[in-house]
């Protein structure tokens, strides 16, 4: 592949970038799409398999009701039309991860058609609707494990038959940033619906990206190139940027874009060619004869509609409006339902300003979770102990610094904030007389403080307060110390 000099620049003004995406998302049903085997990530190799998902001769598929429900739910969330009659089709190709040598997917009569994904741009100040062509159901393939030492490829079919939806956009995205926003919106929405956990690191959300360039303002689409199986948001952004730059370089050098299929190589930080057009795959689709037409009842659709909760975009706008928090915080909150719920529950108690709740949640709470590599629900933090802690800070009973200690404890152990304070002696000293004694001691053991201050170096106050805090073992109220130290120096 031609060497690309990554400029990290915005697309050239001379070209319009046209991007379409196919996003594959694993549904979090209990069982697989066409058989009753467990749908879980990981597990011992080939331990969640049966004759059906192994494609054993003579076996037949049966359609998972929950998977259909989840797919409809996703369709409704993106304003799709649900086809009352939908049918399955075989996509035929040979590959070791596909035991039947065909994938049961949908072709001419997909479950959901039309609809759109609304993405937020420019810190939420702008929105753009990306039209969808369709959302259809299909099954995942097995996993290949390449063993270099043996010179073999091992195959694990635990993932074979896991239900997927494929969300196919129209070619209406025009930058890597839009791609990122589009993927985030899809992930947030599907997680909010509870139809997928969208864990990219576990491969439960992947996408194929189509990129083409055309002269600015032109009506005629350029030749498109496809990047298959991109497994992370950052990967998608980088793959798109690389491809835009590659195509620009080719066009600027007077070359022509050839239709190629690539894959994103994380380690090379570049796209790698898989095949050229001449060897394009002929999937020979035809209607799956083992599965009759599936009829969807209007009443069923209405029932599913009622289960759709507030969706991320609406939630984000409401968080900003109702709680006065900034876009960046609101955006982070809607991408994590547990944190969002915690935020709202605690903010509603009005123990402190909502932005402080958000700061703690997205700052120290998230940091601690990351350090322990756990989710919020796996910690002991709850609305009660979290709000008590915030209240203690707000009332000046403990300092922010002490708050961090309290947080660590209440997230780890069954202990209340008050108990932590007592155990560790963290109660803030607000008694001016006691603080004055400490400050006086600091000033007398450090005479240079007064001297320097008199020479105009007023920032020495900070140092003085620090010494006071140290002497008070962190318990003194720094605001009061500040005032006292200043008074004492001025008085001489």
């Amino acid at each position: 592949m031609k060497e690309i000099i990554y400029k990290g620049s915005e697309p050239s003004l001379e070209y319009d970038v046209v991007i379409g995406l196919e996003v594959h998302v694993e549904l979090s049903t209990k069982t697989k799409m066409y058989c009753g085997c467990k749908n879980i990530f990981g597990g011992r190799v080939n331990s969640n398999c049966c004759e059906i998902c192994l494609g054993m001769p003579g076996t037949l598929p049966t359609v998972n009701k929950k998977a259909v429900e989840y797919a409809i739910k996703a369709g409704l969330a993106f304003d799709c039309t649900i086809n009352k009659k939908t049918s399955f089709a075989r996509k035929n190709y040979f590959y070791p991860d596909l035991p039947k040598s065909y994938q049961i997917s949908q072709a001419n009569f997909p479950l959901c058609v039309g609809g759109f994904v609304e993405i937020l741009l420019d810190e939420g100040r702008k929105t753009k609707k990306i039209s969808l062509r369709q959302i259809h159901m299909e099954e995942d393939a097995g996993k290949l494990i390449h063993d270099e030492s043996l010179g073999l490829t091992l195959v694990d079919y635990n993932r074979a038959g896991v239900p997927l939806i494929e969300i196919v956009s129209m070619p209406e995205l025009s930058s890597a940033q839009e791609v990122k926003a589009y993927l985030e919106t899809i992930r947030n929405t599907l997680m909010c619906l509870g139809v997928s956990d969208c864990r990219m690191q576990e491969g439960s959300m992947r996408c194929d990206v189509n990129v083409s360039l055309k002269p600015k303002g032109s009506e005629i689409l350029g030749t498109r190139c496809e990047i298959k199986n991109v497994g992370s948001f950052n990967g998608a952004v980088k793959a798109v940027e690389c491809e835009i730059n590659r195509q620009k370089d080719v066009l600027n050098a007077g070359g022509q874009i050839k239709q190629i299929t690539m894959r994103w190589d994380e380690s090379k930080n570049d796209n790698v060619i898989m095949r050229e057009k001449e060897s394009a795959v002929d999937y020979r689709y035809f209607e799956e004869p083992d599965l009759p037409i599936l009829e969807i009842d209007e009443a069923e659709i209405e029932k599913i509609k009622k289960t759709i909760p507030e969706l991320p975009n609406a939630k984000l706008a409401r968080l900003m409006k109702d709680y006065g928090i900034v876009y960046a915080d609101a955006n982070l909150l809607v991408s994590n339902l547990d944190k969002c719920e915690m935020f709202e529950s605690v903010a509603k108690l009005e123990k402190c300003a909502p932005n402080k709740v958000a700061n703690w949640l997205l700052g120290d709470v998230s940091r601690i979770l990351n350090e322990k590599n756990i989710e919020l629900k796996d910690s002991k933090l709850n609305v009660r102990n979290f709000s008590e802690m915030l209240e203690l800070i707000e009332e000046g009973k403990i300092s922010n610094t002490a708050g961090k200690t309290v947080l660590e404890e209440i997230m780890e152990n069954d202990i209340t904030p008050l108990e932590v304070i007592e155990k560790n002696g963290l109660v803030q000293i607000n008694d001016e007389e006691a603080l004055k004694a400490i400050a006086a001691e600091v000033l007398s053991t450090n005479p240079q403080i007064s001297e320097l201050y008199d020479k105009g170096k007023t920032n020495i106050l900070g140092f003085a307060v620090g010494q006071c805090m140290k002497l008070s073992k962190g318990q003194g109220n720094p605001v009061i110390f500040q005032k006292i130290v200043a008074d004492l120096i001025k008085r001489g």
Binding site: G58, T59, L60, T62, P99, D282, P292
Partner: protein
């Protein structure tokens, strides 16, 4: 008389009255198998040991007075494209020579639950592709009536086993006539049921839209008995229906309207076959049935529709035989592509390759991809015409095969072989039930079979008409 020569209905009676034991039935059956099998070669695998064990188990059941299944102690041959747990299932193909399923087909589960006793896995054309049983990779089954002749196909082993008294009942599978043609050639009764009446779960697929498991026996009543055991909705097969056959207990031949489609008696039908089938029709007429001459439009569409749908579906259904998860894998290969190609080249016979290639082409973008739609549109036209036809009559009577059984090796041209299915294609394409009933014998002592075609879910009427014929025809 040896027990294995009796009808299943008779054996059930003897068994219940303790006039014979299951073990005696099985002993007689295996004595016959051992005597005739070297010549007939109806079976790919025999399951003697488990058959004897099962017979003893059933005798114990009888002794202890426990309730018996509705096929208790009856020997049955199972076509070797129907999965049997722990018993090799080959589809008569080299590619599955050593394939041992880990599960039972639903029909086999039902047979077990009904206390039937499987005696072995019957020979067939490779993957049920053929009309003579000659494309089997393992052996050529002979017609028990004259061993220089083929038993018909593809369920040739099943039909021959029943005709030779090597079994009392048999399961076959019918895609384009694969139960009916061999039944006709071997002089036994064979049913192709309404599409969706019997579960296909565990039947190695040829063309999913046409495949059906079908029962074979020496009498219509036996076939009816077996049908009632194996039919019904199966949650594992989404194409099965909650089957309720129309009750015809009040069957009166005088109310029967028999359609005789002119197109089935054209020049392509052998004179002796024609004569024999017309005699059957004459019998119904004399018995008081109304006989109506009818016409079936677009007979010329049958083979094209069948060829398109069958080959496209077969190419896809047989794509899983790639050397990866089960079955044969070629010894020599450099890479994945070679593994696929060498495996499939070694494992499949000519007829299978021919149909896979045709189906692959017809569904590829090169062909324009419209063949499937064209075939289905033509099929819908045929369906409309047949719905009209069945407003005029209750059943159609036609020949089953255009000829009697032919000699082994006589037909080598694939097109001539495909023409053997001309009379049996319509029910396959339309999903209608049809039963092949012996109606006489022609030259060289070879049987002739008539085909009774009914509307969907009208199996019972076919049984009643068939039984009436059996009882009253000379």
């Amino acid at each position: 008389m040896k027990l294995n020569e009796l009808a299943a209905t008779k054996l059930m009676e003897l068994l219940r009255n303790k006039e014979c034991s299951a073990l005696e039935i099985i002993e007689d059956t295996f004595r016959e198998i051992e005597r005739k099998e070297p010549e007939i070669e109806a079976f790919i695998t025999l399951t003697k040991e488990t058959a004897f064990e099962n017979a003893k188990r059933i005798d114990e059941k009888i002794a202890s007075g426990s309730e018996l299944g509705s096929l208790a102690g009856i020997p049955i041959a199972v076509k070797d494209n129907i999965c049997t747990k722990g018993v090799r299932t080959t589809a008569a193909s080299k590619i599955l020579e050593n394939f041992v399923p880990t599960y039972n087909a639903t029909v086999v589960e039902k047979l077990n639950a009904a206390d039937a006793i499987m005696v072995g896995k019957a020979n067939l054309d490779e993957f049920a592709m053929g009309s003579s049983c000659e494309t089997s990779a393992f052996k050529k089954t002979k017609n028990p009536h004259n061993i220089e002749y083929v038993p018909g196909g593809s369920s040739g082993g099943s039909a021959a086993a029943v005709a030779a008294n090597e079994s009392v009942l048999a399961l076959g599978s019918d895609t384009g006539g694969s139960v009916r043609l061999p039944a006709s050639f071997c002089g036994v009764v064979g049913l192709r049921p309404t599409y969706g009446a019997i579960s296909r779960y565990g039947l190695l697929p040829l063309a999913s839209s046409f495949d059906q498991v079908g029962p074979l026996g020496r009498t219509v009543a036996d076939v009816e008995l077996l049908f009632n055991v194996i039919s019904g909705r199966d949650p594992k097969d989404s194409t099965t229906v909650n089957f309720k056959t129309k009750n015809n207990s009040d069957f009166d031949v005088k109310n029967l309207k028999v359609g005789v489609p002119e197109e089935y008696f054209g020049n392509f039908i052998d004179e002796e076959v024609k004569k024999s089938v017309l005699k059957m029709i004459e019998f119904f007429k004399k018995s008081g049935a109304q006989i109506k001459k009818v016409n079936v439009p677009h007979m010329e569409y049958m083979l094209p529709i069948y060829s398109v749908v069958l080959t496209i579906e077969a190419a896809s259904n047989l794509a899983r035989y790639d050397g990866m998860c089960f079955g044969l894998r070629a010894k020599e290969f450099k890479d994945l592509e070679q593994m696929y190609a060498n495996t499939r080249e070694e494992g499949f016979g000519d007829e299978v390759k021919r149909r896979i290639i045709l189906g692959t082409f017809l569904s590829s973008s090169e062909s324009g991809s419209a063949y499937m739609q064209r075939a289905i549109a033509a099929k819908n036209e045929l369906l409309k015409a047949h719905d009209e036809l069945f407003k005029l009559c209750d059943i159609l009577i036609t020949p089953t095969g255009p000829t009697q059984a032919f000699r082994l090796g006589e037909i080598c041209d694939p097109m001539k072989m495909y023409a053997m299915d001309l009379c049996t294609l319509a029910p396959s394409i339309l999903g209608f039930p049809a039963i092949a009933v012996p109606c006489g014998k022609g030259q060289n002592n070879l049987p002739i079979g008539a085909q009774l075609i009914g509307q969907r879910y009208c199996e019972q009427l076919l049984f009643e008409a068939g039984k009436f014929f059996e009882r009253n025809y000379l």
